[in-house]
């Protein structure tokens, strides 16, 4: 099993090494990076590339580690006992399997995505230490022991909202997806939009990196925003020339709403455009 990137996902060399290390040594891979750099998509692409199913576990602030293993539905058992349902005799009828259980008992080796682990409570990763390490857990209600047939490929993403405990980090491989440079970005665009004119890509990228490098921007546009913007540009059929308007009256890029997501950023942009215009007039 080796991951080499897919037709729809550009994996840089370092990312490939990290993914393959995690696959070969059967350790979880923790992926961090700026929002919109394709952390979640990575798991899907790895699953596609290896031809294995993907099991997704999206974490919310209320998610408990136990929910990933199993849940015991005591309330319905109580109700059934009142109604005299024969199912009530077997406690196993009221155990609901969680995502980890699914992943452990899958026939082929699946990819398990634990998405945005930092959203959960600060103790959440600690509660999963043993389960991820040994890939087994105990069901107290039935006395059953669930053990992974094949160790799933575990991918964990984090947005850095909380620091993860050291004990957890020690057990993972780590990869930080850095923001793609121009060359990689061109590749990414080509993967997503076939046959886009190089001139359009070039102009769009110029504007994009210019916006990103503007000091004082609250939220920098990311890869996914660039792709959205390009899609809009194509739908509206905008000429490459207008993207990079030399006319100072139109310094704001067309359809900027796809790139700038914050009204303060838009005002900042407008103010800069205004200043540039005044400068031109002063010449």
């Amino acid at each position: 099993m080796k991951f080499e990137g897919t037709k729809s996902y550009v994996a840089t060399e370092d990312l490939r090494v990290a993914v393959n290390a995690a696959i070969t040594l059967e350790r979880p891979l923790l992926v961090k990076g700026e929002p919109g750099t394709g952390k979640t998509v990575l798991a899907r692409e790895v699953a596609d590339a290896l031809g294995t199913p993907l099991i997704e576990w999206h974490i919310k602030s209320t998610t408990k580690a136990q929910q990933g293993l199993y849940e015991y539905d005591a309330v319905s058992r109580l109700r059934d006992s009142q109604l005299g349902d024969p199912r009530v005799q077997d406690i196993g009828n009221y155990i609901k399997r969680g995502k980890l259980w699914d992943a452990f008992t899958h026939e082929s080796r699946p990819v398990l995505l634990i998405d945005e682990i930092d959203k959960a409570d600060i103790e959440f990763p600690n509660d999963l230490l043993l389960e991820l390490d040994r890939m087994e857990f105990h069901v107290y209600e039935t006395g059953e022991r669930v053990q992974a047939r094949v160790r799933p490929i575990v991918m964990i993403t984090s947005n850095n909202e909380k620091e993860l405990p050291d004990a957890f980090l020690r057990r993972c491989f780590f990869h930080y997806i850095k923001f793609p440079d121009r060359e990689t970005m061109t590749e990414i665009i080509n993967v997503h939009f076939e046959g886009l004119k190089p001139r359009l890509i070039n102009q769009a990228l110029n504007t994009f990196y210019e916006v990103r490098e503007m000091p004082g921007l609250k939220k920098k546009p990311s890869t996914s925003e660039l792709l959205d913007w390009l899609k809009l540009l194509m739908v509206e059929d905008i000429d490459p020339e207008t993207i990079r308007e030399k006319d100072p009256n139109k310094l704001i890029p067309p359809l900027y709403g796809a790139l700038l997501k914050n009204e303060q950023d838009v005002t900042l942009f407008e103010r800069l455009a205004f200043l540039a215009r005044r400068e031109r007039r002063g010449e």
Binding site: T12, D14, A18, L25, N160, K162, E163, G216
Partner: protein, 391 residues
């Protein structure tokens, strides 16, 4: 294996553990690094570094420990059987170029000299006209100008080579002693959380309800108050002229603190705290609030954070009338002392990097007043400050 590397990493304060090191060795054992230096670098990075803030330091250590390693790649390339290379030259060299090789004494001679040089040379090399390296005029190396040259390790574009990656130190701005952003500040501020249940009982306490119901034999619903962060914070911002350079940083801190703390009060002062503070910078002269009033309003369980560069004339701190703006009856130091007397937990956040502190006497004075609780306004410093406040 690689114990030196391990030691150096730990010395550079990168938290690598034995378990991680063993994992790294295991990965090498599994052949994951292959024969490529790039892969070796990426693999060691993915196995040993667990926090992007340490990536830059890791790059530095890697460059230091494996100095010259990038040429292993090239030596390997040089040991490719001669026939292959010859076949390649026949494919890619023009007649003219082949004649030039002859000028060096033929292909064998060239290879021999190369081998000799490789043995003689131990260090990385750039420029010059004899040694193997980059951008020189010696016949050996990459990107050179000698038409008789042998290109070493340059069969593909240099883009993305690990040598470049760690030399470029791309992760520099992720180091926690440098960058700070609203989101990061929020994370740091979250250290200062103390949850408690207070106020109206609105939440169902399931455990208690079950216990009480079982106990009494009828449904007895128990409620409890919601959990809240009970930390109360009082922030004093320096709005003085010398703070202009740090406006953005303070803005970020302010917006982060505002969303993070429910009980947060803030006041501005200029250079040093005197008898007046204000809440709106635009109307600072019209709407002044006596400092005494502030000190009397908020009880001593408030945590006090000063944000300022602490750069001023020492007179502003120590003498009455030292203020640059008005005539102050009492020296600034006295006012600061009053604050510290009332509020046990107080810190001073200073946007000026801590290595410059010793050059301004006023900073040292305040540091002394506050009992060494001044922290630089970096993520690391903020973290330390929050720990201090949480004690």
């Amino acid at each position: 294996m690689f114990l030196n590397f391990f030691d150096e990493l730990r010395r550079a304060k990168i938290p690598v553990t034995i378990k991680e090191h063993l994992g790294f060795l295991e990965a090498i054992d599994a052949g994951l690094a292959g024969m490529s230096i790039d892969d070796f670098y990426y693999l060691s990075r993915t196995a040993l570094v667990k926090d992007e803030r340490n990536l830059d330091r890791f790059d530095q250590v890697f460059a230091h420990v494996f100095r010259g390693l990038e040429y292993v790649d090239e030596i390997l390339a040089a040991e490719v059987p001669e026939e292959w290379l010859r076949a390649l030259t026949e494919k890619f060299l023009t007649e003219e170029e082949k004649r030039q090789i002859e000028a060096m004494g033929g292909f064998e001679k060239l290879m021999e000299t190369l081998k000799k040089r490789l043995e003689e040379q131990k260090k990385r090399h750039e420029g010059g006209n004899k040694w193997i390296g980059t951008a020189g005029t010696s016949p050996f190396g990459a990107q050179g100008f000698n038409p008789e040259g042998v290109r070493i390790g340059q069969d593909k574009s240099r883009h993305g080579k690990a040598v470049k990656v760690w030399d470029k130190r791309e992760y520099k701005n992720l180091d926690d002693s440098v960058e700070i952003g609203t989101r990061n500040i929020k994370i740091a501020l979250r250290r200062l959380r103390r949850f408690a249940r207070e106020g109206a009982e609105t939440e169902l306490d399931l455990d208690d309800t079950i216990r009480e119901t079982a106990h009494k034999g009828y449904l007895d619903i128990k409620l409890r108050p919601e959990r809240h962060n009970t930390i109360k914070v009082l922030i004093f911002f320096d709005a003085g002229g010398s703070m202009d350079a740090y406006v953005r940083l303070c803005e970020e801190l302010f917006s982060a603190a505002r969303t993070e703390f429910k009980h947060m009060e803030y006041y501005y002062f200029h250079n040093c705290l005197y008898e007046f503070v204000w809440q709106d910078n635009r109307r600072r002269h019209a709407e002044r609030i006596p400092t005494w009033q502030v000190l009397h309003t908020y009880p001593s369980d408030y945590k006090v954070i000063f944000v300022g560069d602490a750069t001023m004339s020492p007179y502003e701190l120590t003498y009455p009338g030292g203020s640059v703006e008005h005539w102050n009856e009492e020296p600034g130091a006295l006012w600061l002392q009053r604050v510290f007397d009332i509020y046990e937990s107080a810190v001073w956040l200073n946007p000026v990097p801590d290595k410059h502190w010793e050059y301004t006497p006023s900073t040292a004075l305040i540091q002394q007043l506050i009992g060494n609780r001044m922290f630089p306004l970096t993520l690391g410093g903020l973290d330390g400050a929050m720990r201090e406040l949480n004690r």
